[in-house]
Subunit: 459 residues, 2 copies
């Protein structure tokens, strides 16, 4: 581990702690977690600390705990063992780490039990660590959706902080995005008829790995963009296919980027692909145009729905009055997910808290088709970073569903839709920061105009 | 998931079940496990089923359980939910999977509780799944090292089976190895002065990813080969450095390969690097020469120790009589690990069972310096696959240790050792199958002769 040596790193962490202390006056303990093992203990997945820990401690420290108390930071972790130095080389000591992150005190992990008091905490997803938390605090720690009292107060205080990113966070997201952009460009160049999805994915992820970064989430790289969370890479690319690539690097400090581009295998969109691409792009542009502090994110979602519905009516795929179609969620037939989500230390930021971060107090998920998948329903605020990712998909599980056919059969012009069979899935996704001037697209240097995409494909 | 459609897949699985039934007459339940989450539930690491499950079920099925009873196979898993089909696309049903793996019966997961009876099992490393196992069997399942009765009998029966690979397993290891070999070649070509370890690693892993495979373990790609389990990739390669790359792909069916090569950044070994490389290679060749059914693996370890000790005496680094030096573990100063380990579905095969698989009944780890790190102490048998991986390292934690200096100070010619400061770490590792004819090197098509390595580097 290379320790950062600039003062601004420490100042950022200090500021976060002090801000927390302004709204939360009790003691908090945050666990970092441990690397899950891949079948046997010596073979682990790459460790990634809990995001709440990372937010205040800044470093990806395994098996560590921090205590936050009135702006004061105490670190609990063990020094590297002689065994770990023998096998893993020299590592910074607890005191060196404490000095780097500006901890006021530092103790071995075994001391933690003497400092727990009545601390609040947030549960870790790993069951083993969660049980350590419960044992240490001598109580059953509720899941975030069930949290009450000081635990809930801590969650709310942290949400308030993490909803608006500070300069350091934005810098980290930009760094992650800049690598993701190069990665996507490599993917567009690598995609050729006859290659496999796995080969394109490898070209993309190689760039991220070459920058010594990891992916913030499992990459989607597929000619079957209609499979929204596609996790397989086995298809061979054919001329006429579109590749949907949803890939984002994570910065050194753990901040996520999240970008989707859809591009033609042979370097040229077909006329039908062009029509739908431009429609999705129009929705994307309209949404970004609307991003500004104070704007309700749900309205941006509806903005996408409106543009998509109008476009599909113009293309003759949907039939009827646009407002009626929107009212009956006809757009969700082809755009079944939300227009985006919070972006931060998690790609779906703070989703470990259920909907507590994504949904403003008092709000909850809709029961409506499509709208129920919206992950964010809050007013935007300065420093908030969200994805904007409208899409169009022909999902068999939706379009062939009997009850869907009964409800929506009449408003779809199936014959016309058949003409668009070479458009299985298109999504265009950027990372957008709400600023006092409106919107800053952090991923803007990766073009999304149709002709620019064709140029990047460079066949 | 693409289901395999050949009969030999099913026949292999059936044969494994029947062989188990020959030595284990009770009922066994094996859990596959689940993908650990990366901070929040929707962001998971890539799922890898437990190896014992995979051995008998053949497919990487998440949240599944198999019952093995007198050669009969029952599968417990849920059909894909409508939600998972909407987001993840069409997936094979339970019945399709059951037909593919030749299961006699198949039930939803919820039915499992009605079929547990007095079954034996092997605990899963994931704590959440482990607790499901205990709950389901209504007893506290001991860790393998504490297992007794039917659990221990099951473990022993499975070890007996998995120690000797069948044809299908060997074919899978060969497939994994063939991709690893291409990956290593790409790494040798990519390494140039000024590039980073991360860039070389990305060139290597890209090949594995492009074949739609994963790594069997975290790659080691470093100019600091003396850090035995180096997990960082931040150094810049300089002319004169050696790169140590320990990288292995895992086959579609989950079988591991494990290869190490050490090569010069500038394409040419220095005279001192040559001396040590040839010494490690001599140990490597001598060990492989000795692999055959009936040979004690520990003797192969000592063979490596002997060649290394002789070589270091010849180079003037160690001083004294070879037998005396071996008796005092002087070789462990520079070769502190074991000469290799079992290779199979796990890169350290069956290491989830502690030393039960690696050590023959009645044997246990030595207390001796270096020898205590030997992972395998059994007689080789036909079908057993092991790594052969001698090495030479200048580990600061060993060589600068005060008590080491006291004990070994006299037998090291420190001045002479200083001349070899450009040899921080060298390891040469191949995967070797014991056959009735002796040894088959499954990774032989990746050369390890010094001049061939220089040719592959192709500067």
């Amino acid at each position: 581990m290379n320790l950062p040596d600039n003062n601004s790193f420490q100042a950022t962490l200090k500021q976060r702690r002090q801000k927390l202390a302004e709204t939360f006056s009790e003691k908090a303990l945050l666990w970092s977690g441990c690397a899950p093992s891949r079948n046997f203990p010596a073979n682990t997945f790459l460790f990634r600390a809990s995001s709440h820990f990372l937010y205040f401690a800044g470093l990806n420290l395994e098996n560590a705990v921090i205590e936050l108390d009135s702006g004061k930071l105490t670190l609990f972790m063990d020094n590297p063992s002689p065994e770990s130095i023998l096998w893993g080389g020299e590592k910074p000591s607890r005191d060196q780490i404490a000095a780097t992150i500006g901890a006021d005190l530092a103790y071995p992990y075994s001391e933690l039990k003497n400092y727990t008091g009545e601390a609040a905490t947030i549960p870790i997803s790993d069951v083993g660590i969660y049980q350590q938390q419960c044992q240490c605090l001598e109580r059953n720690i509720p899941q975030p959706s069930e949290a009450t009292g000081k635990d809930l107060a801590l969650i709310q205080a942290i949400i308030t902080l993490r909803l608006s990113h500070d300069e350091s966070a934005i810098e980290q997201i930009k760094q992650a995005a800049s690598v993701s952009i190069k990665a996507h460009q490599a993917g567009m160049k690598a995609a050729q008829p006859g290659k496999t999805e796995a080969e394109v994915r490898s070209a993309i992820e190689q760039v991220i790995m070459a920058h010594n970064l990891t992916c913030a989430y499992g990459s989607i790289v597929t000619v079957h963009g209609e499979v929204l969370h596609n996790e397989s890479y086995s298809h061979t690319l054919e001329s006429g296919d579109l590749v949907l690539a949803d890939v984002g690097a994570e910065s050194v400090g753990g901040w996520a980027s999240d970008i989707t581009r859809t591009f033609p295998v042979n370097g040229q969109f077909s006329p039908t692909q062009r029509d739908i691409y431009d429609l999705v792009l129009a929705a994307h542009d309209a949404c970004i145009e609307n991003v500004a502090p104070g704007v309700e994110y749900k309205d941006i979602h509806w903005q996408a729905a409106q543009v998509i519905t109008e476009g599909l009516v113009n293309l003759g795929i949907l039939q009827g009055n646009v407002s009626d179609l929107l009212a009956m969620d006809a757009h969700s037939l082809f755009f079944p997910h939300g227009v985006g989500h919070l972006l931060g230390l998690d790609v779906h930021d703070m989703e470990d808290l259920g909907d507590l971060a994504g949904y403003a107090p008092g709000r909850q998920r809709s029961e409506r088709f499509g709208l129920g998948n919206l992950r964010l329903d809050r007013a935007l605020q300065t420093g908030m970073t969200v994805t904007i990712e409208p899409g169009f998909y022909q999902v068999p599980a939706i379009l062939n569903d009997k009850s869907t056919r009964e409800k929506y059969g009449e408003i779809i012009n199936w014959e016309q839709l058949d003409r668009f069979s070479d458009v299985r899935g298109i999504r265009i996704e950027d990372d957008v920061l709400a600023t006092s001037e409106g919107a800053a697209v952090l991923t803007a240097s990766l073009p999304c105009q149709r002709n620019q995409i064709e140029e990047l494909c460079d066949r």
